[in-house]
Symmetry: C2
Subunit: 347 residues, 2 copies
C-alpha cells in the first residue's frame, strides 16, 4: 500500500495558525483578474464592477471551538452564523447568503439538529440572510459546522485591513473582554456541576458575559451607522482573536504602528467586577480574550467630530509611523509593547 516516505516531520504546533496558512498558501497563483482580494483579509473580494462579492468561511469543531455541555445547540447555530457575518461586516459590506455544512456523529438525534437549525434560521431571519445550500454528512466523532457567507459591497465602500494611514484614529465598537469572561464563568459552572449536579446555578451576576459568549451579535448596525455618519473607515477588521492580535493585523498590512491607551479600552461594568472577582487583569482580557465580534477600524483625523460623541464607538488610539510596533500607554503613563496573543492554536 501507499506509505509515507517523507522522513521530515514538523509538528503543526510549532507554527501556529497564521504562519501555517501563510506557509501552505505561499505558492497560490491568481488566474482571474476579478479575484480582487484572495487570502489575507476578513473576506475574499470578487468582481470588477461597481458592486463586489465578498466570501468568507469558518469552521467550528466540537471540543475545539465549543463545548455542548454548556452551549445549547440553538445558540451554537446562531453563533456559527454570527462568526461569518462578522467577517462580511468587517469589509463594510452586507451579508446576503450563507451555506451551512455539518458533519455529525450518530450520537446526535434529529431533534438535536432541529435545535441547531432553529438557531441558524433565527440568525438568518434576524440579519436578513438567505440559507442557500450546504452539505450534511456523518462524522466519526462529534459535530463540525462549516459555514460560508456571501456578501456584497460597493467597490468604493469596501474596506481592507491595509488602508490605515499615519495618525488615523483607532476606533472600536461596543466593549471588549465579556465573551472571554463568559466562557470562564461557564467553565467554572461546568466544574461545579460535575462535582455536584444539584448545585444551584450562579449565573445571575454574569448575564451579560454569558450572553456575549453564547449569543454574540455581529455588528451589522455599525456598517449602517458608519454609512449614515458618512464615515469611510481607512481599514477594518473584526475582533475574533482579541484586540492585540487584530491591531497587529491592521498594522502589519497597513505598514504602520499603533499607540493604544489603556484607559480608553471600553469595558462593561460586569467585566470589571468579574475580573476583580477572578483576580484577572481586565486590560489583558480585552487584549487577548477574543470572540467579541466587535469591529475595529481606523478613520481619518477629520472624521473625529463624527465619531467622538457616538456611544457605539470608543477611540482607543492612533496609528504611528513605526511599522508593527504596538505600544500600550498604561493608566500610569508607561509605554509597554503589545505582543499578539489569542490565536487559535493547532495541535
Amino acid at each position: 500500500m501507499l506509505e509515507d516516505k517523507n522522513q521530515s516531520r514538523t509538528s503543526l504546533s510549532e507554527l501556529g495558525e497564521f504562519k501555517l496558512i501563510d506557509h501552505l498558501t505561499q505558492h497560490t497563483v491568481i488566474h482571474h483578474k476579478d479575484t480582487v482580494k484572495g487570502i489575507g483579509d476578513d473576506c475574499a473580494v470578487i468582481g470588477q464592477g461597481k458592486t463586489q462579492t465578498l466570501v468568507t468561511t469558518d469552521l467550528l469543531v466540537e471540543g475545539v471551538h465549543f463545548d455542548l455541555s454548556y452551549m445549547p445547540l440553538k445558540h451554537l447555530g446562531y453563533k456559527a452564523v454570527m462568526v461569518n457575518l462578522s467577517d462580511v461586516y468587517a469589509m463594510n459590506g452586507m451579508a446576503k447568503q450563507i451555506t451551512v455544512s455539518i458533519a455529525v456523529s450518530n450520537r446526535f438525534t434529529l431533534e438535536a439538529l432541529e435545535e441547531l437549525y432553529a438557531g441558524i434560521q433565527l440568525a438568518c431571519n434576524t440579519y436578513k440572510v438567505d440559507l442557500v445550500g450546504g452539505d450534511t454528512t456523518s462524522s466519526t466523532k462529534g459535530l463540525m459546522i462549516s459555514i460560508t457567507a456571501i456578501g456584497e459591497v460597493e467597490k468604493e465602500k469596501c474596506v481592507y485591513r491595509n488602508g490605515a494611514g499615519l495618525n488615523d484614529l483607532l476606533v472600536v465598537s461596543g466593549d471588549l473582554g465579556a465573551a472571554y469572561l463568559g466562557l470562564q464563568v461557564l467553565e467554572r459552572e461546568k466544574q461545579v456541576f460535575q462535582v455536584n449536579p444539584n448545585a444551584e446555578h450562579e449565573l445571575d451576576k454574569y448575564t451579560y458575559l454569558v450572553e456575549r459568549q453564547l449569543k454574540p451579535e455581529a455588528r451589522k448596525d455599525v456598517v449602517q451607522l458608519l454609512s449614515d455618519l458618512e464615515v469611510q473607515p481607512t481599514s477594518m477588521i473584526d475582533i475574533s482573536d482579541g484586540l492585540s492580535s487584530e491591531i497587529l493585523h491592521l498594522c502589519k498590512q497597513s505598514k504602520t504602528g499603533c499607540q493604544l491607551y489603556e484607559d480608553k479600552i471600553p469595558l462593561d461594568q460586569q467585566v470589571i467586577s468579574t475580573c476583580e472577582e477572578f483576580d484577572m487583569d481586565s486590560t489583558t482580557i480585552a487584549l487577548s480574550g477574543g470572540e467579541d465580534y466587535e469591529l475595529l477600524f481606523t478613520v481619518k483625523q477629520e472624521d473625529f467630530p463624527k465619531i467622538k460623541a457616538n456611544p457605539n464607538f470608543s477611540i482607543i488610539g492612533h496609528m504611528t509611523d513605526e511599522p508593527d510596533l504596538i505600544q500600550l500607554v498604561t493608566r500610569g503613563g508607561q509605554k509597554v509593547d503589545v505582543i499578539a496573543q489569542g490565536w487559535n492554536a493547532i495541535g
Copy 2:
C-alpha cells in the same frame, strides 16, 4: 447546567441525507430577490444580472469519505477540489474561486499538509481556479476538508435540474462505474496488505479504475464542448451518488419519468472485466456506484444530430410523462423499475 429536556429522539439513520436536508431546511425563508436558486440544485444561483454567481460546498470527512491508508494526501486534495468544481460545471458554469477549510488532529505533520495543499494547488492551476480563502483549525480526531466553490454562468446558459421535458434525450459524458470498482480494488489490496505487508501489489490490471477513484477529473471540457456544439441542455446534474440517484433527481424536479436502456450505459472494458472477476453486475455498479463525476443531462430531440456521433457522449434514454417512474429496459427487453440508491448514509 443545560440539559436536553427533549424526550423525543429520532435517529438520523432513519432518514437518510436528502430527507434530512429537506426536513432541516423546510422553514427556510428567502429575503433577497437576487437569490435566484437556494437549496436543491448542484449550486445556489445568485444575481439578477446577465452574469450569475454559482456557489456550492462539500464536506469530506476522514473515515467516512476517504481512507488515508490508500488515498495519498495529494490525491485527496485534488479530488476534494474536483468534487466541488463538478457541481459548478453541472450548472453549465465555470468555476473561478474556491475556499478551503481544514480541521486536522495533531497526528498530521506540516509535511502531510503540504502534500494535501500540493494537490489542491495542482487542481487550481489545472482548472484555472483561484484559492481565495479558508480556515485552518485543529480537530479532536482525523482530517476534515470543507471546500466552497464560486463560479459564474451567463443567465441564459444556466442549467437547472428541473428543465427536462417530455421526450428529451438523456445523455451522459464518459463512462460509469469505474470509480466504485477502483474503491473495491483498493479495499481488497488494503486487506491483503494487512495480512501480508510484503505482498506484491496487484494493481496493474486496474489502473483506470484506481485512477478514477483516486484522481477523478471534473468535466469542465464538457461545458466547453456543449457551448462549441451550440447545445443548451434542458437539465443537468453531476454523477456523484450513482446514475439511478441522479436520474431520480432530474425526474423529480422536472416532473418527468425516464426510460433508460441497459445496453446504452457506457462502461469501460476494465469495468466489464473486473465486474466479471468480482462476480458483480456491471449495470448495478453503474447505477449505484457513484463518484464518477460525469455530467448527466437532457437535450431536446432536435439536438440529436449534434450529440450522436460525439465520442464524449452516450445517449442512454429519454424522458417520459410518468413522473418519477424510471424504467430500465434490460438487454433482454424487459422493463424493470429503478430505485435510487447510493446516497451518503448518516449514522
